[in-house]
Assembly symmetry: C2
């Protein structure tokens, strides 16, 4: 299992190779160029890429297309996963229309919400469904990921329902740490870490 900090660095290298290199039609790139872009030591870049079996050629560097395809394959971006988004509010609406989900193999196939005024409305091509249909949707579509954009007070109870439906992973945006069984993966996207980072830098 790759550590989370390594995963985050590999995503950045992948971005660099895709955005800066393939768009400008450069075929090879040096570890120094990647290191400068990612604000890291060259030795860290070489170590990270070696961890997924990618080696550069001395004086030539890394072949960009090879690095991208190895990272995508190793991190599972070429497979396809289905997600349901719960909570069709402001943040939910912004996430549904976020570009790039498909680049990582993730497809939001359903949106549900507890507010009867929202059900039946259309967001980015999907009709908002009522909560009582959640079970039927998750089973029929074989959904593996639940995205939680509900208020803090509803996050745990919504997670519990998805866990009962044997969801494999949860992406929680509500500002609360939800508890789950060991076999469910949870990623919390809390603004509090960003707030702390900024406060720390502004206080310096």
């Amino acid at each position: 299992r790759l550590k989370r900090s390594l995963l985050e660095r590999l995503v950045r290298y992948c971005h660099f190779m895709q955005d800066k290199v393939l768009d400008e039609e450069i075929t090879t790139v040096s570890s120094a160029q990647v290191a400068a872009y990612a604000e890291l030591d060259e030795s860290q870049v070489r170590k990270d890429l070696a961890a997924i079996g990618v080696r550069g050629t001395p004086r030539v560097g890394y072949r960009a297309a090879d690095v991208v395809s190895t990272i995508r394959d190793r991190l599972g971006f070429d497979e396809s996963y289905k997600a349901v988004l719960v909570g069709a509010g402001r943040l939910g609406g912004a996430i549904i229309s976020y570009p790039g989900f498909a680049k990582y193999g993730l497809h939001i196939v359903a949106i549900v919400d507890s507010d009867p005024r929202k059900t039946g409305s259309m967001i980015s091509g999907l009709v908002v469904q009522p909560m009582h249909r959640l079970g039927q949707i998750v089973r029929r579509e074989q959904i593996e990921l639940g995205i939680l954009t509900v208020p803090r007070a509803s996050a745990q109870v919504t997670a519990d329902r998805l866990i009962d439906l044997e969801i494999k992973a949860l992406w929680n945006f509500a500002p609360i740490w939800i508890s789950v069984p060991d076999d469910v993966h949870v990623r919390n996207e809390h603004l509090s870490v960003g707030l702390a980072d900024l406060a720390y830098h502004l206080s310096g």
Copy 2:
């Protein structure tokens, strides 16, 4: 300067102490309890707290209130900073109403947007201002932080304008890596890292 990974762990310890401990009126907590909550080694917890000068008492543990006040003080949460949010769309609206900004000393004092249909409307008690007022607002209010919730295509040009106005830090939510001079701190809040983390766990 504290490393970012240490900063993120200290925020989690602070959450634990505040949410679990002060609410339940427990005064001391052991490194084992903190480690279990944060899914880390006990030795990592002890090392992190020692890095900011907090030591536990053998067989008693850490005094929760002391840990919270030391973390808050060391990370600058008790100071006060002003922010302007640019881009009063779905995500901007969700961020403005996010609870807890003030807990980190951050106060959003102005919202601006380029869409004439949005200027003049009210969001969470603030009137949306037109872009031509940005300079005047940043100078008058002595704003230190710019929050970018504009589309990808407008992110760099918006950042450049805020840098001209001598903003100290940028919190970028648009899915693009913006370039800034060395004396400006940028925090990117990209969903791509979360997407990669989830795709990786679903593929395993």
